[in-house]
């Protein structure tokens, strides 16, 4: 069983030029934490997800490597955060992609896919290394579904 046989080959995708407001609507509609982002000719650019959105809502000093570990001293100011959310809504998703997207190749085997999902969580992008195209995505549910089918078969 390889990534190509497990993946969803028709995933909902975001485009690099989409706004974060649009991406948030898509994430909410799909009830998922992240979506793949593609450029021209389905070229895989990376993944955009709630992790990036939460990071943009936090002070920069808290998301830095070796940054603040505790924000309990900051008073809750929902209106300030709403303003910040409105402000980031116009930004392009291409500028806020996840730093190390979870990727596998179409011929990656099941045990390796399980390990990557176990270690990193979220969804996996299946990318054809030869042309950089997005072939599909794999969620943990896709794996359970595939295993179920095999058992039934």
């Amino acid at each position: 069983m390889t990534a190509a046989t497990i993946m969803n080959a028709q995933p909902v995708v975001l485009h690099g030029t989409d706004t974060i407001a649009h991406a948030l609507a898509a994430l909410q509609q799909q009830r998922t934490r992240s979506l793949p982002v593609v450029g021209a000719r389905k070229r895989f650019l990376g993944q955009f997800g709630m992790h990036a959105v939460l990071g943009l809502l936090l002070p920069r000093a808290a998301t830095l490597n070796a940054g603040l570990r505790d924000l309990s001293f900051i008073a809750d100011e929902p209106e300030h955060l709403r303003e910040r959310l409105r402000h980031i809504g116009d930004a392009r998703v291409a500028d806020h992609l996840e730093e190390a997207p979870n990727m596998v190749e179409p011929d990656t085997r099941l045990s390796e896919i399980l390990l990557v999902l176990y270690r990193h969580g979220g969804n996996l992008a299946v990318v054809d290394k030869a042309n950089g195209e997005l072939a599909g995505i794999i969620s943990p549910w896709d794996i359970l579904a595939a295993l179920g089918q095999r058992e039934q078969g």
């Binding site: 002070p59 920069r60 000093a61 490597n65 940054g67 603040l68 309990s72 001293f73 900051i74 008073a75």
Partner: protein, 447 residues
């Protein structure tokens, strides 16, 4: 006869010890300065080659390592690693910002003062690691450019670190090698530090005064910070402050108690580890101790080990004596001229080379000048000149001190990069002013 032969080693191929040691020393420093290879690797390779090529034998190499410096560094790193978990440093930065009524210039001044004070009591790299994230948060909330704040923190860290034995690694090395105590540093270097601090902050105000404005709404956000909430562990806070206080007292009374600073720092670290871990089971203890030791900057420690051996190699081979004779001849044995040459030379060189290897080389050089100046007790002005030059000189360029690079790294990641040339254009004149003040001070007090 060169010292290398006295050390009982055998040079391969019958090469001359002086040339081999000099070549190894130059090659090691060139690799360190190139920054192509991690500095710890470069120093350890240089040290290894000093032994493999027969300049030193292993016994001599171990003799060259200053374990007092290493012990002091490791002890203080462990104490800070545990103390920081209490949230006290975050508390201090927030307290300072609120004390300034969240006014931008006041915040800059207060954060710089806190940085200078902490740098004097801890090491300055650790201090900026603790202060810069809070500074970035405060400037973000104030909606002001962080550059002047980060700039002043760099200066404050290096200036504050100059004041005490434990503030900056060069001082630790000088204190250990010259047998200068915590009090010696405090009484001889600390008095000039407030003057240098003030002389640095005033130009910073005039250069960036237009940047020091913030809206009332933004200021209120900072005023709404609750500093007490930053304290995450009250018990650990009390324990840490008690041990830190004891350690400082230990440094102050080290000489009458016949204790070395490394003993005080390592005992303090062990005591704090004990207090932190007493209530926990062995598994939790193991995790805590592992965590505290993991925060020791082992790259720096091994860098020191390698450097000490490399410098001991050239010392044993006779290069240091040669250089020292040249320097004394160049200054005609005039103590004042030699002190000024060391002060200004150290300051200018510390801007372009790492001040740790520089000071490691200068220490035996100054020691070997003792006969020319009438004995080791007459070298004091030279030691203070070296400390002032090497520590303050680090402010001259962005690569002049480790603290500068740590701040620059944070600034880059936060999207506010500090560029080399713009930094140099302001920093170099300010650094030269601080060295001019130091020159007057050294001359007035010791010459």
């Amino acid at each position: 006869m060169h010292g290398a032969q006295a050390a009982g080693s055998a040079l391969i191929f019958g090469w001359d010890a002086l040339w081999v040691a000099t070549a190894l020393f130059a090659a090691t420093y060139a690799v360190i300065m190139s920054e192509k290879v991690n500095r710890a690797i470069a120093a350890l390779l240089g040290a290894g080659l000093m032994i493999l090529l027969g300049v030193l034998d292993q016994e001599a190499a171990v003799r060259g390592v200053d374990f007092n410096t290493l012990g002091l560094l490791i002890g203080m790193m462990v104490i800070v690693a545990i103390t920081r978990k209490s949230g006290v440093f975050q508390y201090l930065a927030i307290w300072a910002a609120k004390k300034a009524d969240a006014r931008p210039w006041g915040i800059l001044l207060m954060l710089a003062a806190v940085t200078a004070l902490l740098s004097a009591l801890l090491d300055n790299v650790t201090t900026v690691l603790l202060i810069v994230p809070v500074t970035l948060l405060i400037t973000e909330e104030l909606e002001v450019k962080p550059y002047p704040y980060l700039f002043s923190i760099i200066f404050a860290a290096n200036i504050g670190g100059t004041a005490t034995l434990i503030g900056d690694p060069p001082n630790i090395m000088i204190g250990s090698a010259a047998n200068l105590s915590f009090n010696d540093f405090l009484f001889n270097l600390a008095p000039v530090i407030p003057l240098i601090f003030a002389a640095t902050m005033a130009p910073i105000y005039f250069i960036w005064r237009k940047e020091f404005t913030a809206s009332d709404v933004a200021r209120q956000r900072v005023l709404n910070f609750n500093a007490r909430e930053a304290i995450s562990d009250q018990r650990l806070l009390k324990q840490s402050l008690a041990v830190l206080g004891l350690v400082i007292l230990g440094f102050v009374f080290a000489r009458p108690l016949h204790l070395e600073p490394a003993t005080v720092a390592l005992f303090g670290a062990a005591l704090l580890l004990l207090l932190e871990n007493l209530p926990h089971d062995t598994e939790q203890q193991s995790g805590n101790v592992h965590g505290a030791f993991a925060e020791v900057e082992w790259v720096t420690i091994f860098f020191f080990v390698g450097l000490f051996v490399v410098v001991y190699g050239i010392e044993q081979a006779g290069l240091i004596k040669l250089l020292s004779d040249q320097l004394v001849a160049a200054t005609h044995g005039d103590l004042a001229l030699t002190a000024m040459a060391i002060l200004w030379g150290s300051a200018l060189l510390s801007g372009v080379v790492d001040n740790i290897p520089f000071v490691a080389t200068m220490i035996p050089l100054i020691k070997s000048m003792a006969p020319a100046f009438g004995g080791p007790e007459h070298l004091t002005p030279l030691w203070w000149s070296l400390a002032l030059g090497a520590c303050l000189g680090g402010n001259g360029t962005l690569i002049g001190a480790s603290a500068n690079l740590v701040v620059a790294g944070y600034a880059e990641r936060a999207g506010h990069p500090i560029r080399f040339v713009p930094f140099l254009l302001v920093a170099l004149p300010l650094m030269l002013v601080s060295i001019a003040i130091s020159s007057v001070y050294v001359y007035w007090r010791y010459l």
